[in-house]
Each structure stands twice: as C-alpha cells, then as structure tokens.
Symmetry: C2
Subunit: 159 residues, 2 copies
C-alpha cells in the first residue's frame, strides 16, 4: 500500500472537520491554519473527498465543508481510498500478472498484507478517533496556539 502525506493529510483534515463542524461548516483556510497544511494542497484533497461523497460544501461567506453522515459511519480506510486510490500492497495492483502474465512467488503474501491493513483501517471511524483523549488534548492545543498567534498579530498591527 502507498501511505504518503497525501493520505495522512486527508485523514487529519477529516478529523479536524469532525472536531470543529458542530455548528458552522469549516473553511479550508481554517483547517490549513490549525493543521499547518498548505491551503492549495488541501483544496486538491477536498476535491477528491467531495468526489468520493465523504464531504459536501457550502459556498459563499460563512461557507466551508461538512461531513456527509455521522462520524461513526466514516472510517479511515474510506478516506485514504478517496485520495490515494487503493490500500492494495501488491506490485501488480491485485491483477496477479506480476511475473510475465503469471503470479509471482510472493504475490499472495502481499495480498494478505493488504487485507490485514484494510481490515485495521476499516475498523477505525472518525468517531473512534474523536473519542480518544490524546486527540482532544492535541485539538485543544491547536486552538490555543492559533488564538495566541492571532493575538500577537493584533498587537503587531497596533504598533
């Protein structure tokens, strides 16, 4: 399988959404600040997430993205699949033509590994992550950091 910052950022962004979208939709700019992820890069990821039907968007002032459905229905595997194509671990993409049209010596091993990972990531929902204490601690820290940052900016402008 292919786990890059692309997939990691997507899960992080979705978790941010789950943590902050109680009342209003969350703008990409907010997520970009809180999670320190490039804004334009996030936009690309959300385009994929929207295509996959995991989020929907509200345009105009006060708009942003919202999760489709409740947090217990969206699992980590879905998010990674949405932006990363597949969790497959074989070289041949599961087709089994790894060695000149036939199966290679280790094909089934990688196939098993893929299933294992998929099973693990399918068993974890956004609700599970939100419920974790460390996630909440980190989320609070991120909000605090942002507030003091804005505070400093206001003071800087006042000078």
């Amino acid at each position: 399988m292919r786990l890059t910052t692309r997939g990691r950022y997507a899960v992080t962004a979705m978790l941010d959404l789950a943590l902050h979208s109680e009342k209003r939709p969350v703008s990409v700019a907010e997520i970009s600040e809180r999670q320190t992820i490039s804004l334009s890069y996030l936009e690309q990821l959300f385009a994929s997430l929207r295509k996959a039907g995991l989020v929907d968007s509200v345009r105009g002032p006060g708009g942003g993205y919202r999760l489709v459905g409740t947090t217990d229905l969206i699992c980590v595997a879905d998010i990674i699949k949405a932006v990363n194509e597949s969790i497959d671990s074989t070289n041949c993409g599961g087709k089994g033509d790894c060695q000149g049209g036939s199966i290679c010596l280790t094909h089934n091993l990688w196939d098993d590994l893929g299933r294992q990972i998929a099973g693990f990531l399918s068993g974890i929902s956004l609700a599970d992550l939100v419920a974790k204490r460390d996630v909440q601690t980190i989320a609070n820290r991120q909000v605090d950091q942002l507030l003091t940052l804005e505070d400093n900016n206001v003071r800087a402008k006042a000078c």
Copy 2:
C-alpha cells in the same frame, strides 16, 4: 510504511534462497533468471541483506549466497527492515515532532498502524512461506520455465 519493489524483491529473493539452497549456495545470476529481477539491482539488495546478517556469501566458482540460520528464524519483517529502513508509518519517523515540534493530530493513529503491520510481518517466517502449497507450485513452474528456455537456447545454437 514504505513498501516498494525494493522490499518485495528482497523477500522474493530470500524465499528463492530458502527454496533452492539445500546443497550449494545460490548465485545472484540464478535468482535473477528465476525471478526475473535485474542482476545488478539484486546485487545491491544482497549487499544490504548481508550487512543485516541475514545471508552470507561464498566467493569463486560454485559460490553464491546462503541463508544465515534456519528458515524458521527469518521473518518477513526482518527482510524488509534490512533493505527498506523501517516499517514505521508516521511522517515524522516516530519522533513525534510532526507539527512544529509537537505531535500532530493523527500521529498515534499511524503509530498504531505501524505496530499492526510490524506484528503481522513478524509473524510470518520463510519456513511458513515455503510450507505453503501455492508457493511450491509457483516455484516448480519457475524451474520448468527456465529449463525449457535453456532447452530452446541449446536448439537455437545447434542450428
């Protein structure tokens, strides 16, 4: 984690070694032919495998590589670690400085995933793989293909 052909080739080569090193050491050229992997590329992988102490080498005619220890003592995780650095899935390499010195929102998730994969791959030894029926079937096919190939070459030369 980072699973590329590098790691896959290494496991395939080690399995080939396990299957064919009953009497003599196995040369890289043999493995290259049987598994259709570039010879020079294989040599690089074996340099890493040797450094990790998974194989030792016999030089000169009739030489080649041999496994160090029995097949039940070498697991897939060891082989991948030997050529691929780590099975870690976090972006920060497990250091926990993913977001400006602090931990990022999803760090622990990737950490858990890494442990999961490491556990799975540590539980599979070369002996386990050799014992599988499909592996033996594929190995036989590979030997047959090579024999008919050599046969054709001999005939071609005779013409």
